[in-house]
Subunit: 329 residues, 2 copies
């Protein structure tokens, strides 16, 4: 098994792509500039959401690990970040329906209307930027993956309140809503470098497995971490009736009484539900099981790119995968 | 001045493009088919929204009026309808509307979460379908116009509750949110037919002017029509603090007392506000003024395409413009 918290990577995974990453932010900002001051104020707010820039980094690192970086890589990296920002803005609208977030989201600042439309504005500009490339390949892949992401979100909405969500459907949801995009980041990075089919497939597989691991850990943190640790609201999945892997594993292995107690807690969620769940889960090995599942996806991700020639970029990709697990602390 | 209600056109404007219009619906349905039954149920609901198919008709008629129709026209017509449907679904979330074309809105059926995500799904598929064409021209134009539509919506949101909205900003909003798309429909129809620059410009101008007229009348109907007549929620603009052309013209021409009464009604909207506004507006010529403004855009639209060679398609375009005014009854 891969190492846990103690192994937090010491390298800065962005070192091999530092110059291009700066260029990505320039392209991102130029694409969104509007003649309307109100629109510029809103997109400025979105810039505050910028976190780890995981998706642009994956795209650039995949490109670097399989060839030379070009301006197309920079544009594509800005596109995937814009797609991701759009999903964040719309996710915040979705979550606000039942609950107020405790920090300034776009919907908090300008209402749901502004947030819905700003998300649309971001997605529109992502496609616009993408269509500026000479080949239609990227536009096709980006539109195909956003189709899949939306299906994942809709599948999740359909299953909201489905306490007995199957593990199969849970994985179907996270593959579509999260892993599809990280996979396409790595795929497009490799394609834009002119990589061969085998290398493209290896990096795509890496991106898909990393995405699954990332989402499992993200869901875990929502159950186990504090708001201070994650910088965002926690406990929302339980409050919104979204069972995640630890809950699914707990229900699969629990005694009849524990199972009943967990189902009761999930069926009528209150603000106390996350704390109740936490204490029930900590009395079982369900959290460890979910973490191990994430770790096995990280193992699979790094194994997928093992055949690639060694490079700083490849080392960064491996470190990025391991960092997914280190987030857990 | 163009004739009003009495002149409701007797021709079916779709006759010259009937076959292609059926093909558009097939392409539309095939593009949206999902492996997820829940998604298919939602897109089925969206199909109930289908009204006049104005945008696909404009695109096909512009293509026919300037050359031969191709499969690209059919695909593009499905794309613009999908874009339009996405804006309807998100508009209903923004407006908290319950009814559209005599059917429950998506937000009413599955909540705002489902409606936001279904709108995203539609826009994603619009780009996906568009990117299936061999040239990148359409993808660029579609993404550029959706940028503009979003800006128009954001400008409108910024001005929500701005009772003293200027006529200039009102026109800026409707040019971006409505006329930009009808203009691009006509432009892309002509471009896909291989029309010369002059013809493309004439049809683009026609589409832009028709779009402005259409939105003025749509806003008028929200003030003057009943839910039964329009098949959708009415009075929403006044309730949502969105002054439209009749209100702007009324405020510009009213006595100080009438002006004050109108501003008071708009400042604290209640479910009775639409009725109050209606009765105040009917005591002035503001509704006629707004209708005349729409009529002048229709005149300009038909004048723009006068130089085109006569054809059934051109006759349909002229009838379509006149029909915008006939909706008023």
């Amino acid at each position: 098994m891969l190492q846990g918290p103690a192994s937090q990577p010491q390298i800065d995974i962005a070192t091999p792509i530092a110059r291009e990453l700066n260029a990505v932010l320039d392209v991102f900002d130029r694409e969104l500039a509007s003649d309307l001051p109100f629109v510029n104020r809103l997109t400025q707010q979105v810039r505050n959401y910028r976190g780890k820039l995981l998706r642009p980094k994956l795209l650039l690192l995949a490109g670097r690990a399989s060839g030379e970086l070009t301006h197309d890589h920079v544009v594509l990296a800005a596109v995937v970040e814009m797609v991701h920002m759009a999903t964040l803005v719309h996710d915040d609208v979705l979550d606000e329906a039942d609950m107020r977030r405790r920090h300034d989201t776009v919907n908090r600042l300008v209402g749901n209307e502004g947030a819905v439309m700003l998300g649309d504005f971001l997605i529109s500009h992502a496609y616009h930027l993408c269509s500026s490339l000479s080949s239609t390949f990227a536009s096709r892949r980006i539109a195909a993956v956003t189709n899949t992401v939306c299906e994942g979100e809709l599948l999740q909405i359909e299953n909201r309140g489905n306490i007995l969500l199957s593990e199969e459907t849970y994985f179907d949801i996270i593959r579509r809503k999260t892993a599809a995009l990280t996979a396409v980041c790595c795929e497009m990075g490799a394609v834009a470098s002119g990589a061969d089919d085998e290398t493209i497939a290896a990096l795509t597989r890496y991106g898909a497995d990393l995405g699954v691991a990332f989402q499992i850990v993200d869901d875990l943190l929502d159950l186990t971490a504090t708001e201070h640790e994650t910088g965002k609201s926690v406990g929302r999945d339980a409050e919104m009736g979204k069972p995640t892997l630890p809950v699914i594993r707990f229900l699969a292995g629990a005694s009849a009484a524990d199972r009943e107690a967990m189902i009761a807690a999930l069926t009528h969620p209150t603000p106390d539900t996350p704390a109740t769940l936490r204490s029930m889960l900590r009395g079982s090995d369900a959290i460890e099981q979910a973490f191990d599942a994430a770790a096995s996806y990280v193992t699979s991700a790094t194994a997928a790119i093992a055949p690639l020639p060694d490079s700083d970029a490849k080392a960064s990709l491996i470190a990025a995968a391991e960092f997914v697990l280190a987030r857990r602390q």
